[in-house]
């Protein structure tokens, strides 16, 4: 193992911070993130509300911590969805070739011909704007990119001798795919999944910001920013902290993603 570079350390630290805030926020927050206290609304950062309160007197820090749990869990489930779907379809398309491949890739390319944000919006208009709708819409929107990467990897792998050997030994296609193809195309999958996590988190926040995400009063960073808009001049901290959380999380993921790519994908090293 090479020693960690400063940017990797910063990336890992940021991710660790966000994840621990998410885990702690799920079980414990300084105040109840949903408790309304109108006598104490729009309080500036200080004591007892370290980061101030919002227009309903709810504690910002508590809401940020609860939102960290919501955002990271939605992103994790969505990425897992895209990885499972993408790996399955990509391996089948790349391994089977022929008509199956063409059918899968035709639908896939059509989906890729939409910007992913827009695809998510289109799917959201069917699934409805709630937690499960978002996971389904984002998961479907992000699957095609994964399919493409896995298929590309499988296409070159399937011509290699060890795959041929597995086939000659009489192994079933499913066994060959799971035992031999899957482990060998994990590197690009992990690289893509890392960047995808950041992208999903950003899209989820953007959807929440647009009012099409997890419905209030449940806090997400995006809907906290959206409700901060009318109060920006009186209480700028309402708008500053949630955005800072999103930015720091994304920064962590981007730095971490670069580090992962350097390690797993030697061709990209140093670029």
């Amino acid at each position: 193992m090479r020693p960690m570079r400063p940017n990797q350390i910063i990336g890992l630290t940021l991710i660790a911070l966000v994840l621990s805030a998410a885990v702690i926020g799920t079980f414990w927050t300084p105040f109840d993130p949903l408790r309304i206290d109108l006598r104490n609304k729009l309080a500036a950062p200080g004591l007892p509300n370290l980061l101030g309160t919002d227009e309903f007197g709810r504690d910002i820090l508590s809401r940020l911590m609860a939102a960290a749990g919501t955002s990271t869990s939605i992103s994790l489930i969505t990425v897992s969805f895209a990885v499972c779907g993408g790996v399955t379809l990509g391996m089948i398309a790349g391994y089977a070739r022929g008509a199956v491949d063409r059918a899968i890739m035709m639908v896939n390319d059509a989906m890729l011909s939409f910007p992913s944000m827009l695809l998510a919006l289109a799917l959201l208009s069917i699934t409805g704007a709630n937690k499960y709708g978002i996971i389904l819409a984002l998961g479907l929107a992000y699957t095609p990119a994964m399919v493409r990467v896995v298929r590309g990897a499988v296409l070159s792998l399937r011509e290699r001798e060890f795959i041929e050997a597995s086939r000659i030994m009489g192994n079933s296609a499913a066994y060959t795919m799971l035992r031999h193809l899957l482990p060998n195309c994990l590197a690009p999958v992990i690289v893509l999944a890392t960047t995808m996590f950041g992208s999903v988190l950003l899209t989820e926040s953007a959807l929440s910001f647009l009012g099409l995400g997890v419905p209030p009063p449940a806090p997400t960073w995006g809907n906290m920013l959206a409700s901060a808009r009318p109060h920006m001049s009186a209480a700028p901290w309402l708008g500053i902290f949630p955005g800072l959380c999103i930015a720091l999380t994304l920064l962590g993921i981007n730095l971490f993603g670069d580090a992962i790519r350097d390690r797993l994908d030697p061709r990209m090293r140093g670029l």
Partner: protein, 314 residues
């Protein structure tokens, strides 16, 4: 060249067909009567019955699709439930707003980012390079809607230099239009610079490793001549493709930036239509954006040989 253009043009047809099937299917996937989805909840029975006839709901689904596709091809995307305006007019008007903002922003971002990326590659691992990478990673990590809010807070609310709310079309009043465009464009530029710099740097590094660059150096050419005459053109290809993708992406949905700066753009139209369950508008927008996305990528591909004449050979 013409052959390349034609094959490329024809290759978009199957995708367009699939996209239109998907957009058509959208309405069928939502529970309820498609006619009442299209006409809205307030339409009377006679109007609904007329709509059912016109959409061919009493006939097989493929026939319904052909009816719909035929209308869409002639520019009839139906009327908005909310405003009763023809969807195509609405989409085109909103698109003009988004397009001005996006085109200006991407042009500025390219002019800033490509030289910066090349400069960083030229001094790989030097202080300048690390600085540029750090800056671009930071810019990429800041969500545009937050960046926009912070710009609004700084220049609009605290300093009071620029108008916070409202919008004037650049076509009706150039000066006022430009003033309203400053903050959204600045937001987009900062974000896109971050993305484009990374790509420009990476592709320049790829080219700098090649033998012909070493040869040019051995010939005694100045570094400036090598960068501008030999490296720039070869390194710009991948960046150009990325710019096309960014352009297509942005033209279809800068909903968040439009929301922050209350601009009546296409992205905002889609979001509002989803709120209001205005299905004809949702369908029209999706179809339009898919076409725009494809047209932009087509133009990018067709212009590619200007930078890289080798491409047409394939």
């Amino acid at each position: 060249m013409l052959r390349f253009a034609l094959t490329r043009l024809l290759s978009t047809i199957p995708t367009l067909l699939l996209v239109s099937i998907a957009v058509f299917g959208l309405i069928r996937l939502i529970p309820g009567d498609p006619a009442s989805l299209i006409m809205g909840d307030l339409a009377d029975t006679a109007a609904l019955e007329a709509a059912r006839q016109a959409m061919g709901l009493d006939r097989p689904v493929p026939v319904q699709f052909l009816i719909w596709l035929g209308k869409a091809l002639t520019g009839d995307l139906g009327n908005s439930i909310a405003s009763n305006e023809p969807v195509l007019d609405l989409v085109l008007r909103r698109f003009a707003t988004s397009a001005w903002m996006v085109l200006i922003a991407v042009a500025i971002a390219t002019l800033i980012a490509v030289p910066l990326g090349m400069l960083a590659a030229r001094r790989q691992n030097g202080a300048l390079d690390l600085g540029i990478i750090a800056m671009s990673t930071l810019l990429v990590s800041i969500p545009t809607f937050w960046l926009g809010l912070m710009i609004l807070l700084t220049f609009g609310l605290k300093l009071g230099w620029l108008p916070v709310i409202g919008y004037v079309a650049i076509t009706s009043d150039t000066k006022a239009g430009l003033i309203y465009l400053i903050m959204p464009v600045l937001t987009l530029v900062l974000h896109e610079v971050g993305i484009i710099v990374r790509m420009a740097r990476a592709s320049t590094l790829d080219v700098l490793r090649l033998d012909y660059v070493t040869h040019a150096r051995a010939k005694g050419l100045s570094e400036a001549a090598i960068m501008t005459k030999h490296v720039a053109r070869n390194a710009f290809g991948p960046t150009w493709t990325l710019i096309g993708l960014i352009l297509g992406n942005l033209l279809g949905g800068v909903a968040v930036v439009e929301t922050v700066f209350t601009m009546p753009g296409l992205g905002r139209l889609i979001v509002d239509a989803i709120y209001a369950r205005d299905y004809p508008v949702i369908q029209g927008c999706l179809l339009f954006v898919a076409v725009i996305y494809m047209v932009v990528n087509l133009i990018v591909d067709l212009l590619y040989p200007i930078f890289d004449p080798r491409v047409t050979a394939q």
